[in-house]
Symmetry: C2
Subunit: 254 residues, 2 copies
């Protein structure tokens, strides 16, 4: 962790321009996105054991599985038909449609590829409790905060194309399960993430005009960075030596 990571996001006294707001949002990503997390470096640098990759894929599955419910919660509280229709494309991407597999199904190809039993993955029996609490916090955030904050919390997608490219490169190179088929999830995501985050960023820039609103937008993105970071913290604590696997969670067979 660098000193820069610890630096608090400064408060806002007078309204930021749309460009300044975007710069602040991107600055949060540069300081707090989970690409900076030690577990990300281990994973994509080929330093993880098979068991650690399994634990990551298993826990991250819960995040993937809950994203459509998160998005449906957002749509459910939105009284703007155009916005609902735009956001609906996220449901299609994750849940799929006739003749087109969705992101959740593609994630299960990854968990298959790393040797996890699919029924076990889907049962969530081996999930770290901290993963469940973090992901559920995200769903509750989207259900309970303002629509503007709910949309702003999706903005980690601004930073995901870079991390996904690192994942594809690192996984194809370093692990024997890295094939085009098991990694299909990652290959498909970047253009979708780009489209979704362009839309959400534009919405936030057009709708967050007061210092208070802009502050809630920045806080929402920090919150979401905390969700992703704490998921990797939990994995690191449980599965990187010295391991501290909590009661009931997945125990790698190694």
């Amino acid at each position: 962790m660098t000193a820069a990571v610890l630096q608090a996001t400064p408060g806002i006294m007078s309204p930021l321009t749309a460009g300044e707001l975007e710069a602040r949002l991107r600055d949060i990503g540069a300081r707090r996105y989970h690409r900076l997390h030690p577990f990300h470096h281990l994973l994509h640098g080929g330093k993880c054991t098979k068991g650690q990759v399994q634990a990551w894929a298993l826990n991250r599955y819960y995040y993937q599985a809950m994203i459509p419910q998160k998005d449906a919660n957002l749509i459910a509280r939105c009284d703007d038909s155009e916005l609902r229709r735009e956001w609906r494309s996220r449901l299609v991407d994750h849940d799929g449609e006739e003749g087109r597999e969705g992101g959740v199904a593609r994630w299960l190809k990854l968990t298959d590829g790393v040797g996890l039993d699919r029924d076990y993955v889907v049962s969530l029996r081996g999930l770290l409790p901290a993963t469940r609490f973090a992901v559920d916090a995200y769903v509750h955030f989207v259900r309970e905060k303002t629509l503007l904050e709910a949309i702003a919390s999706s903005l980690t997608e601004l930073f995901s194309p870079a991390i996904i490219n690192e994942r594809i490169d690192g996984m194809l190179k370093n692990y024997d399960f890295g094939s085009a088929d098991t990694l299909a999830y990652f290959a498909k995501r970047p253009p979708l993430a780009q489209r979704d985050s362009d839309f959400a960023l534009d919405h936030v820039k057009r709708n967050a005009k007061t210092p208070d609103a802009q502050q809630t937008v920045l806080k929402a993105l920090e919150f979401k960075c905390d969700v992703l970071w704490s998921m990797l913290d939990a994995l690191h604590h449980a599965y990187v030596t010295p391991k501290h696997i909590p009661p009931g969670a997945f125990v790698p067979n190694e």
Copy 2:
């Protein structure tokens, strides 16, 4: 962690007697209560630095502060006046009344005693995100699950007198801030915890009669053990060497 800790709680095929149900609940405590957590051993064995004790008191403050809201959520969904009246005593214990300080105020004497600024503690600025997610998961659980599950999730109080006595002994002996005043919270809790857990245990034994209901009761207690355990996991990961303090969280001055 011992093999016993990892053992899954067995399913229920036919109804348990009230005594068998109680034995299963106590067995969960014996295997999964946070008294078994390495951070508890460090803390109460006098092996923590001042900064680690501060981090523990600061993070645990959020749990204390949210307990009355958790209890109010339970009362809010309860249509039995007698049960509401009984449960109301928990609000009194935690929030206090004219001439009688509550548990939350007593906890702040502890955070004072360990040298934390009270405004900083109450602001929650330095909280570990994982603490917030775990505590909020508890509040949401009580709001969203059945009343029986909400009541059963309070049953960790069955096991708290023992851990509290270890805390008092360990803290008076090992840390220079351990005084009767700073530790007043712990001195007051055991009889209240005993009264509350007697009530909740009796309620659960009288109301959980089918295998399905009994299973949900056991799962609710496991869930609550997971909440407490994951709070100590987060502290351990962040503040025990090698430290991994997440962005924005409390950094001890040492």
